[in-house]
């Protein structure tokens, strides 16, 4: 396994705003890595530096063994190996899906087959539809098709499922997993915690320009070992107890009530609870 993205001591300021304040990251080949963080946390700036859209102030960055800040022809060869799916765009409304995808294929040295890619994103029925007639979700899938047509080793996905209905999101997640299974590395930025949980092998939480933690979704913020809350009804009173051994507590309660425990509920911290706590969010 090799490292696809490595970042150390990354800094970037806009005037007095220290948007990225010392970030270190290592993303391995073949993983889906999610970057989570509130608006203004430095997420977009970080990703845009990795994509070569923005210059950094200091720190070292290697993406596929290449410094994205390099200008000129070497940058073009590097771009041949990456795929970028930006936040929503509205361009190419006067071209059909097939025309757009076939055209973008010409930019790359060894692109995928346009028909195959259109099929992969589920737009085969819409191949001959003009871009401006597509729905929001279809439009987004076209964005993905344009991002992956070059057969990239590394794919950047920025808020990919904003505006999707639940069914479309699940289909989309399948597509992302499929791309990963074909060997691509995926860096995902998202607002949706369920999306990070469903897709990501690892997540990094970023806040105020710094990485707060990097972990698997299940272990983030000590989630797996956090206390569970057990609640039940005891006569008229609703009782609640935090426990490190909820199973034992439930067994004890079950013995006490002679079987069924009234209104039993066992709850562990959700990824969202943990996340909000980490970014110092509004809850409690």
């Amino acid at each position: 396994m090799s490292t696809v993205i490595s970042v150390s001591g990354l800094h970037k300021s806009y005037g007095s705003n220290h948007a990225v304040a010392g970030i270190d990251l290592a993303i391995e080949q073949g993983e889906i890595f999610a970057l989570l963080g509130p608006n203004g946390a430095g997420k977009t700036t970080t990703v845009e530096i990795l994509e070569g859209f923005r210059d950094r102030d200091s720190g070292s960055v290697q993406v596929l063994g290449f410094d994205p800040a390099t200008k000129g022809r070497a940058g073009q060869e590097w771009r041949d190996r990456i795929g970028i799916v930006l936040q929503s765009t509205h361009d190419a409304g006067d071209l059909t899906v097939l025309e757009s995808v076939s055209h973008f294929a010409k930019y790359y040295e060894s692109p995928k087959d346009p028909h195959e890619v259109i099929n992969l994103v589920g737009l085969t029925d819409k191949s001959n539809a003009l871009g401006r007639t597509l729905s929001g979700g279809q439009r987004r899938r076209l964005d993905v098709a344009l991002g992956i047509i070059g057969n990239p080793e590394l794919i950047f996905l920025d808020e990919p499922t904003t505006g999707f209905d639940p069914e479309a999101r699940r289909a989309f997640w399948q597509l992302i997993r499929k791309l990963r299974d074909e060997g691509a590395t995926i860096l995902l930025t998202t607002h949706y915690l369920d999306e990070a949980e469903a897709l990501a092998d690892r997540v990094a939480v970023i806040n105020r320009g710094k990485i707060v933690e990097v972990s698997t979704p299940a272990l983030l913020g000590g989630r797996a070992t956090s206390l569970a809350t057990v609640s039940w009804r005891d006569g008229v009173e609703l009782r609640k107890e935090k426990s490190a051994n909820p199973t034992a507590l439930v067994a004890q309660l079950s013995a006490q009530f002679g079987g069924e425990v009234p209104e039993l509920n066992v709850k562990r911290a959700s990824l969202e609870d943990i996340y909000l706590e980490m970014i110092g969010g509004a809850h409690e």
């Binding site: 994509e51 070569g52 859209f53 073009q76 060869e77 771009r79 041949d80 990456i82 970028i84 930006l86 936040q87 929503s88 765009t89 509205h90 361009d91 190419a92 006067d94 071209l95 025309e99 055209h103 973008f104 010409k106 930019y107 790359y108 040295e109 060894s110 692109p111 003009l130 344009l146 070059g150």
Partner: protein, 263 residues
């Protein structure tokens, strides 16, 4: 698969630009038919002769051909590129291995085709309805070709450079169109240039449209008319020098200021 080159991708982009342009009916009609409507209005209102054997229509067609270079290059691109910048088209392209030069080659192809259609329509309508005479010598046609090449290149480059001036795609037309219309009035497109106030002529002489217009007159008007120009002759050398200088200025300006995304 062989490695795509800047030129081959640029040609593909040109084909795509033309396809998209033709599918936007409003802009096709506006860009291509509006100058014909102007020709019809001016040709009908001013049906007099302005010199022996020179009708106003003849003078006006020369001006409209020069304007055609500005409309299809400068005006079209300075409005279109900010819209593409707003829509994220440019940023998306920047994220692909497409060479930047291919994008500009594509735009140049679009401008060239629309300019040629424009010139053809003006000449066809002028000859058919307003008694416009076409150049009679090969020398004059060659001069026209040279003027269209250099003038259109200048107009294209300045349009790319100026595309950074409008703050948004929505406001681009409001920023760009007045610049073009004022220059047309100052440069002797709608009026006889030497009839304009002296200060207006001086201002116009700074900008390339005045020289494109004068160059077009040297093609379409009889040489006897040259004595009625400001300098008493066609100033062909100076015409090309000044348009060429603007081309260089535009190139430096465009290279230094071009942005692939909105701030």
């Amino acid at each position: 698969m062989s490695k795509p080159t800047s030129l081959s991708i640029g040609i593909q982009r040109g084909a795509l630009e033309i396809k998209q342009f033709m599918r936007q009916r409003e802009s096709v009609v506006f860009t291509m038919l509006f100058p014909l409507i102007l020709l019809a209005i001016f040709g009908s209102v001013f049906s007099n002769s302005i010199a022996k054997g020179v009708t106003f229509s003849q003078y006006f067609v020369a001006g409209m051909i020069a304007s055609g270079m500005v409309n299809t290059g400068f005006q079209q691109l300075a409005i279109m590129i900010p819209v593409e910048r707003d829509f994220g088209t440019l940023k998306r392209l920047r994220g692909t291995p497409m060479p930047a030069s291919s994008y500009f080659i594509g735009k140049a192809i679009l401008v060239t085709l629309s300019m040629l259609i424009q010139v053809f329509l003006l000449l066809a309508a002028g000859v058919a309805f307003f008694g416009v005479n076409l150049p009679k010598t090969g020398e004059k046609w060659l001069l026209l070709a040279a003027l269209l090449v250099v003038g259109s290149a200048c107009s294209t480059i300045l349009g790319i450079a100026f595309s950074n001036v409008p703050k948004s795609g929505r406001g681009a037309s409001a920023v760009v169109s007045p610049v073009v219309i004022v220059l047309q009035f100052f440069s002797g497109v709608f009026f006889i240039f030497t009839d304009l106030p002296h200060w207006m002529q001086q201002v116009a002489a700074i900008f390339p449209l005045k020289w494109m217009t004068q160059g077009a007159r040297s093609v379409f008007l009889p040489d006897s008319f040259a004595t009625r120009e400001v300098a008493g002759n066609w100033e062909t050398g100076r015409t090309f020098a000044i348009i060429g200088a603007w081309l260089v200025v535009g190139l430096i300006w465009a290279v230094r200021s071009f942005k692939w995304e909105r701030d």
